[in-house]
Structures are given as C-alpha cells and as structure tokens.
C-alpha cells in the first residue's frame, strides 16, 4: 500500500557514486598520484553484491538511459523523495572501497566518499542525511574517520557491510562502537559482503540469487555475535540497525537465542536477561525487502506478532533496488498505528540526530497528535 501521509523518514537510500575519478578532489596528493598512476581512478568499485545490471540492483523504471541508477540528484528527488513525501532520507553509499585489502587505501577512499557525500548530496539537498562509511579492516582507522565526520550532524550512523573480515561483536571492534555511542550515531549494518571468505557456512554458492538469500543468515550471525560478546551491555546507549536485511526471519532468532541462553548462560554471564528482550529493545531493521508472501497480509501480521514489538521496523525504500513496484512501498495489513511508528516515530527514536533538523510541526502526521 501507499504511504498515507507525507513526512516519512526513508532509512535506506542508495545514491550511486560516479567513477572513482570523482573522488580525486577529496584525496591528498599521495592518493591522487596513486589512483591516477595505477589507473585506479578508471575503475568503478562496484560491489559484487550489487551487479549494476541485475534486476534486484535497480527497478526498471528507475534506470536511466545513461549513468547509474541513483547516480543523479535530480533523479533521486524525482524518484525517491518527492513521490513518497519524504521528510528525510538516509544515504547509504555502498562503495567498493570496503572490499579492498589495502587498509590505507580503503581508509583514504572511505574518507573521500564521505566528503563527496557531504558536498555533493547533503549540501545540495536538505532532505538527505547520510551514514559514515568506515574501513573495518583497521578499527583505529575506522574510529579516526568517525571522529573526523561526527561533527557534521547530518551524518546519523556508521555504515558497515554484513559480511567482512570477522563477526562484528568481536572486541577488537569495540572502539568503533564506543566512538559511535559517544557521538549519538547508530551502527548500521547493510547487506553485502567483502567476499574475503565464503558467504555461507556451506561454501561459495553458484548464483547471485543464493548469495542474496544468504544475507539474512549473515544478519542472524551478526546479531548473535553482538549479543554473545556483550556489546549491548557494554554500550548501553548504542542502537544497531540492520539495513536491507529482511525481517521475517527474526522470530527464529528471538526464540532460539532465548532458549539456548537458558542452557549456556554460564558461558556468557554478562547476558543478564532473555536475549529476545535485549534484541527487541536495541535492534532495529529497515522495512525493505519485505520477505513475505504477496496477497496474504495475514501471514505478515502473524509474523509481526511473532516478533512481538512494533518499535523495531524503520521505513525504507531501498531505492533504487527493486523491492516493490509503483508507490506501494508499505506491505498490506499494517494498522495505522504501526504505519506511523514505522515511517516516523521509530526512525526518530533510532537516529536522535534527525530531531535536530526537524521541528515537531514538521513531523506531525495530518490530523494526528504530535510525534513525541
């Protein structure tokens, strides 16, 4: 169904980067030389997870005659912001820099991507917000990038791929979470893999479709990693957002971890209450893709009941990825209250920085009480 009123906050929008050549003005002399001498500036840095011509990577009517879908601000406005009455949209720039092995080059490119995003997108379109892309190869470099960009309040979270070097709960990454928490930034984990190792426990699948389906199991593993390592206890204000993860798989994780915990809690004594309660409180998931059978709204309604919380879902279009058609961005079967929470309240609660640019009046749904 369509959004019932304007003011939605789109928590997953993908502007496409132009070629790496566009980053040259944002790099220092050493990296400019490196990129040009080695012809790295002629490469696209597309992630294997999103082959540009695959159906999933862009909706047919969002493709352009030339240039990448989402690669043009006028197109973003006309296709992703205006039709949905979007109040804010959070840009998640999925740049291939994160899949490099050279951590210095990755750090330089991530910084350039963030500066490009601020200058080319945020400065030009006040509805846009963004995530800080960080090089997870080296937590010290990632923290440095967070510290460098955190003063720009239009950046609202830290962006990490779902499959990188190691599971993300590992304590080697904790300085990143400390920095994010200190600055009021969420940790956003987006579908995708660096392919530094096999994307499934069973090895390397043959098809891109299999890789995409497997993303949800990577998200399960990451959630459990955060839980088991004690990240939620150590960083009591930190929010974890799973982006483009799907969410209908969540009941299994809630039920299974809460049961297993009863048997294994001496191993993880810092988990002081049922994992399902912790996850419901601290984890958020973006809406698209809605992996539920079409035309059976009661199935989705039952799944939402199994999830047991209406605070967890955050509205997203996943533009320009092809997850829905027309303007029917919401699944059937959501009640009015759930819609308002998903499109406005939950995003505002997850990203406190969004409130800074929003007056109460801006977020007031038509004929409804003011948003908290």
């Amino acid at each position: 169904m369509k959004l019932p009123y304007p003011g939605a906050i789109d928590c997953d929008l993908h502007p496409a980067m132009p070629g790496v050549g566009a980053l040259l003005p944002y790099l220092d002399e050493y990296w400019r030389d490196q990129l040009t001498n080695r012809h790295i500036d002629r490469t696209a840095f597309n992630l294997t997870s999103y082959p540009p011509n695959a159906p999933l990577s862009a909706r047919p009517d969002w493709r352009q005659a030339s240039g990448a879908p989402g690669g043009d601000l006028a197109m973003i406005r006309a296709q992703a912001l205006d039709p949905f009455g979007t109040k804010f949209a959070i840009c998640n720039v999925l740049h291939g820099a994160v899949a490099l092995f050279n951590e210095d080059m990755a750090a330089a490119l991530c910084a350039a991507v963030n500066d490009w995003t601020a200058h080319e997108l945020l400065d030009r379109e006040p509805r846009l917000r963004a995530s800080i892309l960080v090089p997870m190869h080296n937590p010290a470099l990632a923290v440095a990038e967070i510290e460098r960009k955190a003063g720009d309040r239009r950046f609202v979270q830290v962006l990490i791929l779902a499959m990188g070097e190691m599971l993300l709960g590992r304590r080697i990454y904790w300085p990143i979470y400390a920095a994010a928490e200190k600055h009021g930034l969420a940790i956003g984990i987006h579908a995708g893999s660096t392919y530094h190792h096999a994307p499934t426990a069973a090895g390397w699948p043959a098809h891109r479709l299999e890789d995409y389906v497997a993303q949800s199991t990577a998200f399960e593993s990451q959630l459990l990693s955060f839980l088991a390592e004690g990240v939620f206890q150590k960083f009591s204000a930190l929010k974890i957002v799973l982006i483009e993860s799907g969410f209908t798989w969540l009941p299994t994780l809630l039920w299974r971890t809460s049961k297993t915990w009863r048997g294994v809690r001496p191993e993880v004594p810092w988990i002081d209450r049922p994992p399902a309660d912790i996850i419901r409180e601290r984890v958020r998931l973006t809406l698209q893709p809605v992996d539920a059978p079409r035309g059976e709204p009661q199935v989705l309604a039952r799944t939402l009941a199994h999830i047991g919380s209406d605070a967890m879902l955050l509205f997203s279009t996943d533009y320009p990825h092809w997850q829905f058609d027309g303007e029917d961005v919401l699944p059937e079967g959501l009640c009015d209250e759930a819609v308002r929470k998903i499109i406005i309240d939950n995003p505002l609660d997850t990203y406190p920085r969004l409130r800074e640019g929003a007056t109460i009046g801006d977020n007031r749904p038509i004929n409804q009480e003011a948003v908290r």
Partner: protein, 365 residues
C-alpha cells in the same frame, strides 16, 4: 536438561519414532574389526585429518560433560556406546518404536584424506549393523558416506541399497562446496535410485568454511546457533541450484538444524527468485514448492516462543506432514517427548509429528 525421566505407565506413553539418536563407540578400537589392516595402522599412527585446529576435541567446548546428558554416561565408554543403557534410559521409557541412528563424523564425511574417508564410511556402516541394529531391531542405520568422494559414495549406497536396515543416506550439510553443486549430483541420483532420503545432520567443520558467512563465532552459544543458519544456506543451495528439479523423487531430511526458519526462508527465496529468476532458469517453480514437496524437518532442539501457539502457527505453514520428532539422545539438549510441545496439538497432529510422518517417509511397517 538433566532432570530424571518420569516413569510412566505404558498407557500414558506416546509411541514415537525418534529421528535423531547418536550411537558412539566405546573406543576407536571398536572399529578395527571392520577396517582393513592398512587403515587400522593409519588411524593409530596418523588419526583423522580434519579442517579444524584442535585434534580430538572441539574448538568450542560444550557447556557440560562434553555436550552429553550427565546421566547418560555408562560405566565404560561415552554416552551412546552402551545399548543396554540406551534401552533402559531412552528406548523403553520413551516408547520408541523406531530410532534413527546418526553416526556422524566418524564415518569419514569430514575427512580430508578421501581414501581413509572411504574406509571409515564402509567400516562405520558395518559397525552400526553389528553393534546396534542386529541386537536391537527398533534401531535403523544410516548409510554414512563421504560427500566429497561422490564416486565412492555412490558405490557404498549401491552396496547397501538392498538392506532394509539402512533407512537413509547421511552426508554433511557443511560440504566443501554448497551441496547443490553438480559434483554432488551423483549422490542424489543414487539416493533417488535406492529410494532413500538424504539425511543432513548438522556437522562440525566438514568443508572448513567459517560456520557463518560473516566469520567464525567466539562462543559455543553462537556455534550452536550456526547449525540453524548454516542449514538454511545448504537448503538454499539445493533448491536454487535446481537439484529438486533434476531429481524429482529426491527426499531430504534436515536434522537438528531447526525448522522454524523454513517459512521465512521460503518467502525470501520466492520473493527474490521472482526478481532474479533469469539467473537460474533451471528453477522452474517458486522455491517454496520444492521445499514443500521434497523436505522434512526434525524438531530438536525445538524453539520455545513465549506464546507456544506461535510455534503451532509455524508448523501450520510448514505442513504437519513434514515435521518429525527427534530427541538427540544422549546429547545435553535432548528434547523429552512428554514435554516438548507446550501447546495442545490435535490427536492427528500429534500422531503425525511423533510417529506417522517418519513411518511414511522411511517406509517403516
């Protein structure tokens, strides 16, 4: 999970088929009568060669008693090695009409040396018969084969195919490549010809890939869960590489890998297959249809939502004819048939889940 079993009169009992019982040998020498001298010596001198860092123990130590029920240790040997105790503690009091033996890694499915793997496979299959199935007709063996050597696996399946005491074929769901890859197709062809289901029981290391797509877990709590996420990866491979399209009579049993995830995985596969199906033209129908027709799931370790009816809704979506009870005896997270369901199923649902689905699938009288 180590509460003494309540004693029940026969009239109170549910007659069950237990789809996951783990036999063990007392010492590695128990296999010697079934191994050629060359491989006996090899095992003594070199032992197994697996894709893991610790030899002879697990890299995620279990929570108690090596992952066993502490009351399941016989006077000699590990739990599962003493048939008398298994009868007394499990088969008799729990009303087990048939029990499916799951002899796992000792049968070579994780072994790197494929010649050794073949010898272990053949030996373990003989050993199951001699040690458990011949003295205890309620138990059924599985044809354990190393999936990485499809040619040998096919010969072993054919060798056992006429023996009704073997109910299914056991391979690892954590193979070197995802199981849908064509290098494994001869095994599925042989399984179809032998009219035996392929049983996929969660495994330790097997192909050596990290137990999640995002890296190795730290804690046993995570490794325990990885059985469930990894099984989803394996099922996805079987469906989306077109195995069920190619082998229309193939049946697959997913054991100890969870089942609650099945509806959501099917919805996810269906949704994105619709978008990306040009990439996999051999998958002709929505993926969920193949799962519905070809797959069975065992229950242990069963999920326990706060509202038990939620679990019943999940089984409604999977189909009451596709979920089969299992205990995982003698492991620590054993499910007790008297306590496993926290909701009240209908008599028909109960009969199917605890007994009839397995009897139909395995052709048990």
């Amino acid at each position: 999970m180590n509460v003494p079993l309540r004693h029940q009169s026969a009239s109170q009992r549910t007659i069950i088929v237990d789809c996951d019982i783990h036999p063990a040998y007392r010492t590695p020498k128990d296999l010697h009568p079934f191994l050629p001298a060359r491989w006996r010596e090899h095992m003594v001198t070199f032992g197994e060669h697996l894709r893991q860092g610790l030899s002879g123990q697990l890299a995620w130590p279990r929570m108690m008693a090596s992952g066993m029920r502490v009351d399941a240790f016989p006077e000699q040997g590990p739990p599962g090695s003493d048939l008398a105790l298994m009868r007394k503690q499990h088969l008799d009091p729990n009303g087990v009409e048939y029990g499916m033996l799951m002899q796992l890694s000792k049968g070579g499915m994780e072994e790197r040396n494929l010649d050794l793997a073949a010898a272990l496979s053949h030996a373990v299959n003989d050993w199951q018969l001699a040690t458990f199935v011949e003295p205890e007709p309620r138990l059924r063996a599985g044809i354990v084969v190393p999936q990485e050597d499809a040619a040998f696996a096919v010969s072993e399946i054919e060798h056992r195919a006429d023996d009704a005491r073997f109910s299914q074929i056991l391979i690892s769901p954590r193979s070197s490549d995802p199981l849908g890859h064509r290098r494994y197709w001869p095994i599925f062809e042989a399984a179809q010809a032998a009219d035996r289901p392929i049983a996929l029981h969660v495994q330790g290391f097997s192909g050596g890939h990290a137990s999640t797509g995002a890296g190795w877990p730290t804690y046993y709590m995570q490794e325990h869960y990885a059985a469930s996420s990894g099984m989803q990866n394996t099922l996805t491979s079987l469906v989306l590489e077109g195995v069920f399209e190619r082998f229309p009579k193939l049946k697959v049993v997913l054991i100890e890998g969870g089942f609650v995830w099945a509806p959501a995985l099917c919805w996810r596969m269906d949704k994105h297959w619709e978008r990306m199906r040009a990439e996999t033209p051999e998958v002709k129908r929505p993926p969920s249809e193949y799962v519905r027709e070809h797959c069975w799931f065992t229950t242990q370790p069963i999920e326990e939502p706060d509202d038990p009816r939620h679990l019943a809704e999940i089984i409604d979506w999977i189909g009451w004819d596709r979920v089969m009870f299992s205990t995982d005896y003698p492991h620590w997270d054993f499910d007790d048939p008297q306590q496993v369901l926290k909701f009240q199923p209908s008599e028909e649902q109960k009969r199917k889940l605890f007994r009839d689905n397995a009897k139909v699938l395995y052709g048990l009288a």
